[in-house]
Amino acid sequence: MRLNTPTDSTGLGALRHLRTVVPLAALLLCLVPSSAHSQGPSAAREIHVLAAADLQSALPALADAFQHATGIKLVASYASSATLATQLLNGDPADLFLAADFSYPEKIVAANLADTASPIPYARGTLVLFARKDSPLQPINQNTLLDPRVQSIAMADPMHAPYGVAAQRALFSMKLDEKLKPHLVIAQNVAQAAQFVESGNAQLGFISLTLASSEHMQQIGTYLRIQPDTYPPLNQFAVVMKNSAHRADAHAFLDWLLSPPIQHNLRNYGLDPVR
């Protein structure tokens, strides 16, 4: 959430009531969070990142490492790629968009809001089927989806989450889409799908390997990789926003993310390198 200082409180009327306005303005200034969009040489360097929900478990650690290396801090917000694209198309002042597919960053490019001619690939994701360890469906395998005891399977919404699209296509390839349709529970994004199965409300969940690799999810459950040939590759792309005041820092992060040692390390977070 960001607070904006009102800009029209200094009209003619305000001049006449300077004595009341000045303390009021000072009060309002105190309310503005100092971290939001701080600029100038002395301020800490920060970039605001809109990140696809599958990065919710991976990005904090990557951001820490990047800040350690460069002093630049990442402030991230997570949602489905479509949600984030909608925000950006409607004027969200973020600096960098890390999407979970190509189509949504491409929309930013098409709207002439990106500073490159095409989105930049930074990682490849993997779709997994997750179940809690205490689930009667354990041990999960290729045939678990056919188990008659399956009543609810969480997945991200294919309408606005790339991992939802992947899950939908995988079900279609496995010819299970019609059969399992009544049991599908649609989450807003892949992180909510993970939450649905984590809380036990859904028995199974199509989630990202990134989320399934988080320490907590590894403790409470197990996962099965979905056959990669059943869904289109989850190539994840990024764009730097053209109007960002921190374009150089945003590119510095992307370059760092694409550097061989970091790409090599991505597997620890459930992502495959693109370089």
Partner: protein
Amino acid sequence: MDTQALGLTLRLALSTTVLLLLLALPLARWIAAGSGPLRAMAQAVVALPLVLPPTVLGFYLLVALGPLTAPGRLIIRLLGHPLAFSFSGLLVGSVLYSLPFAVQPLVSGFRAIDPALLEAAATLGASPLRAFGTITLPLAKPSILTAAVLTFTHTVGEFGVVLMLGGNIPGATRTLSIALYDQVQDFDYTAANRTAATLLAFSLLTLVAIYWRRSERRSLLA
């Protein structure tokens, strides 16, 4: 326009209104009948959904009443499925979330009734239940109507609880507010416009009807 979502929203709002009035009438009657810490506590609990974000309710319904807890397992045994991702789950959420909108108008309505009328009824041998049916309810009719309309419209406008608990299932948990959210996410602004305009017109008309009735009544009394 997602007619299935519209139908579901109206069904949810109607079920919530009926169920909530059945709960709120005796509760409001009890609250209005006296004072004391117990009643203050009840009123505070009833008012909680006004101040709490709907996500608090969504969280408790999803996790505290989920399959990992004893009360959650009891619910699964009773319903055959968890509260989450079901119409009954949304109904429970909506009843709790709209509680103040039903109870508060009823409490003020009941308190406005002259106790002398009820005493007179008792003197004439009417049982408390009969007095409630023949005196309290007819006199509180405007408040009951307000409670019903507010509950109905508030349920139509519900979003946060449904988003956390619903699972976006067409015909079961995809209400109009969720359909609108999806349409915006999907860049389908034409459909979003239709849904938003429907919700806007519906809410405005309902509120106009309420205020109009109120002003009519006031001018009749004057």
